[in-house]
Each structure stands twice: as structure tokens, then as C-alpha cells.
Symmetry: C2
Subunit: 136 residues, 2 copies
């Protein structure tokens, strides 16, 4: 059995938030967008189809749970949920709280200029998201 | 009970492929990308969270089924699966077969220049996708 190793690019671009049943939840280090990643801790997975059926179902539950937390806590104008993976093959799902006044609206966030690191402001957001997830 | 009406912009940008249990499956009329939409036939839904639980589960099954057809039939380098909805609020999920040589790789397809209509070439692709879906 191969061990799961987080892709170095995903690791370097994001900050750990929580370990859910299947996925590592991480915050992209770009304060322009409240932007989370769900990364199933399963080695060798690139497509949703590469997960076993029970993991596919669990990923969907985690997508919906994190979506609910983002919606309730941050009240975005729209949630964006996407599994793209053109740049980093390791399976990961983006969950992004979007606002009509954000830096990319109404376009997608990917490839939109330079990221602005969260710095110390990541901490209260991450703590709040953890609490909200635990309370669900 | 409100009736479901397909958003006019989604309708105008795409060609019907099939009616699945929950979703209308449509082909975006842009031959640069094999690009499908799954649109749940439920009025008033914007976010995944707006669907009832059984419809959420059905949407996931349909996402995985259509992903499987795209992967097996078109052998893309990557599938892109996304619910964005910043431009058209009506809930819809994009499923796009991506190739390293396509017009947007490795970027996302949204907002990438002018679409190239499929014309008559849509027909054999749609027929094949229908057959593949029926055979699942």
C-alpha cells in the first residue's frame, strides 16, 4: 500500500485547516478570496473516478458540509466548487466563497494575478471554520 | 409548485443531449472543447445546497456517470468538473474533457476567447454520448 503524500505545490500554496474523514481541508494562502481545498488522503488519485465508491460518497458529503460552513459563516454571493487539476494532478476540490466585489468576479479565480498572503489574519478564519465544522 | 424553466443563456449556449433522472444534459456549442452541462430540473436552485438531499445524491451519481462516459469515450488528459454560476445563477455543473493541446490548457475554459460552434459535427458526438449513457 502506497502512502498518501500531499503534493508539494498544494502544500506550499495553502495552510492546513482540518482533517476530515476523507480529506485534508486547507486554506489557499490568498486573502483576496476565502478559498478552501479538499484533498482526499488517497494515494494516486487524479480524477473523481479514481476514488472507490465509498470514498466518492464521502467526498460529496465533505463538499456539501464545507459548502454549508462557507455559506453560513461567510454569506458569499456565490459558492464555486470545482475539481480541475490541469496544473496539479493530485485530486483536489476547490471551494471558494465568491463576492460581486471580489478581485475576479464574475470570472473564475484561477490564474487571476498575484496572490496576497493571509498572514496573521488566516488564524481567526481557520479557527472559526474549525469550530463551525465541529458543530455540524 | 413552480415549473422548471431552463435559463435562456444556458439554452442558447448549448445543445440538448439527454434527460437523465435529475438533470438535463447539454453540450456547450463550442467545438474547441467537449464540454457538457448537467442542469438539475429543479426550479429556483442556485447552489448545490439548494437541492434536497436525495437530489444532491442523484446529482453526484449523474456527475460520476457522465464523467465515466467522457473518460471512456474521449480519453481526455483531464476532466474538469465545476459548479461556478457567477454569470448564470441557475444551478449547473460543467463537465469538460480537457487535453494538453486544447485552446485553454492548462488554464480553465471559462472566458477563453470566442466559441467555435459545432455545426453538424455535434450530431455524431451527441449520438455516441447518448448510447454510452444508455449502456451504463
Amino acid at each position: 500500500m502506497t502512502a498518501f503524500n500531499l503534493d508539494p505545490r498544494l502544500r506550499d500554496d495553502s495552510i492546513p485547516v482540518a482533517n476530515l474523514g476523507l480529506c485534508s481541508l486547507r486554506l489557499i494562502d490568498d486573502r483576496r478570496f476565502p478559498w478552501l481545498l479538499l484533498i482526499p488522503r488517497r494515494p494516486g488519485c487524479v480524477e473523481l473516478l479514481d476514488l472507490q465508491a465509498k470514498d466518492q460518497a464521502q467526498l460529496w458529503r465533505e463538499i456539501l458540509a464545507v459548502s454549508g460552513v462557507l455559506k453560513d459563516r461567510l454569506q458569499p454571493d456565490k459558492l464555486n466548487v470545482a475539481a480541475l487539476g490541469n496544473q496539479v494532478a493530485q485530486l483536489h476540490v476547490h471551494l471558494i466563497a465568491r463576492y460581486r466585489e471580489d478581485a475576479a468576479w464574475p470570472g473564475p479565480v484561477w490564474g487571476m494575478g498575484q496572490s496576497l498572503p493571509w498572514g496573521e489574519d488566516a488564524r481567526p478564519l481557520i479557527e472559526q471554520l474549525r469550530k463551525d465544522l465541529e458543530a455540524r
